[in-house]
Subunit: 240 residues, 2 copies
């Protein structure tokens, strides 16, 4: 529970939790909680999966950041991630994104920062993503979101853009896995721009495993197909 409580502090420093649901799944427990967020001035939900191993010992935690229009429910009911998380003994935490730009305003910048890396799993050493918006300062979705969260001063936007961040990344070696559906309509619409991110990584000599998956779209059927690979990718580091 220590890991979970840490995540709660990360979400909001002052909140009372209410458990909404708890369902056994692959030997573990899928829980959903609600709390009144002081920072964001609204009710927020988040979900936590506790693998069977959590009954008897500490387990590392993995965060899932959902994409646009998602609540915590999309991922926990549609991605089929439970089996792999259960087998690898990982706690998985799902944050709900804020939809109203007016809510929280500047207080929720940290939230917008992770929110704009849509459909990302992250842990400090390893990162993985499904069809992420790689260069939001250049795409319509990103421009709309940044204007809403950060205002019209575009100089502020780059610090929340994965392609720009990687150009100045000073940290330790990252292990990045990205799956992208080749038939994803948002890829052809120019919303995702993975080439820009890969080019920036190449320039910085940061290795990226980018898998363009033939015939797959932007749906949860795509995510469900490859989710076990992503859990395994993180488990290598989390269970090391």
């Amino acid at each position: 529970m220590v890991t979970i409580l840490m995540s709660l502090i990360f979400t909001d420093r002052r909140m009372a939790l209410k458990q909404i649901s708890s369902n056994k799944c692959f030997g573990g427990l899928q829980k959903v909680f609600e709390h009144e967020s002081v920072e964001l001035k609204c009710k927020m939900k988040f979900a936590v999966y506790l693998p069977p191993k959590a009954e008897t010992g500490k387990c590392p935690a993995l965060y899932w950041l959902s994409g646009l229009t998602c609540t915590e429910q999309n991922f926990i009911s549609k991605s089929g991630y439970h089996q792999a998380a259960s087998e690898h003994g990982l706690v998985v935490i799902f944050l709900w994104q804020v939809r109203n730009f007016k809510q929280g305003a500047s207080d929720c910048i940290w939230f917008s920062k992770i929110e704009l890396t849509y459909n990302f799993f992250f842990f400090l050493k390893s990162v993985s993503a499904f069809a992420p918006i790689c260069n939001p300062v250049l795409c319509p979705w990103g421009k709309k979101a940044f204007t809403g969260y950060l205002g019209t001063d575009q100089s502020k936007w780059k610090t929340y853009d994965a392609t720009h961040l990687v150009k100045s990344y000073p940290g330790s070696q990252l292990d990045i896995l990205i799956d992208q559906g080749k038939d994803d309509q948002f890829l052809s619409d120019g919303q995702l721009l993975p080439d820009n991110f890969i080019a920036a990584c190449t320039e910085k000599k940061i290795p990226v495993v980018f898998r363009l998956q033939e015939g797959y779209d932007h749906s949860y059927y795509f995510i469900a197909t490859f989710i076990a690979d992503h859990i395994r990718h993180h488990a290598k580091y989390l269970n090391a």
Copy 2:
């Protein structure tokens, strides 16, 4: 496609199909179709999963009959069945249940027959179920549904009740697998009555593997946990 067309004929003899969606998943395709049902006098949907093997050859088909309040979406998006169906090369067909007792009236008796065996997979030799309503003539849900579909003459009800049907089952050997969550609220409410079905099977010397799963409820988290076992159970016969 032969198998699928056969299923369409089974659903309704006179209909024009409209494809609603098609998503690649575990190498196969999850499709949803809509049609105007002449028999039931309403729009109906059904879903078909085509495994990768269907691209190059014939595949056997398995039918999923969803439970109360379900559309074709519940199962195809929440059960996580695709991986096992893909691996075993099974076409899986999902029928949508009729909700309005007034619709179709006597024409839809065949539909009510399968509908009242909630959450069942069926193929002629093998049957499996998740938390089924085993003896509907004796439970509140069954009484309500039978009254709606068949009227108040209770003598007609028994031919649509699994426990009564098994008592007079003249057919070949069946292989029945049932998973039941021990913490399922509908089990403790007396809606499911699996003991009556098991007793009838025991009397007829029909073997049933009944697994009472500790801590599991009636949700799709329960189904997702054990779905691969059920697909494997049917694949033994379908791929024999």
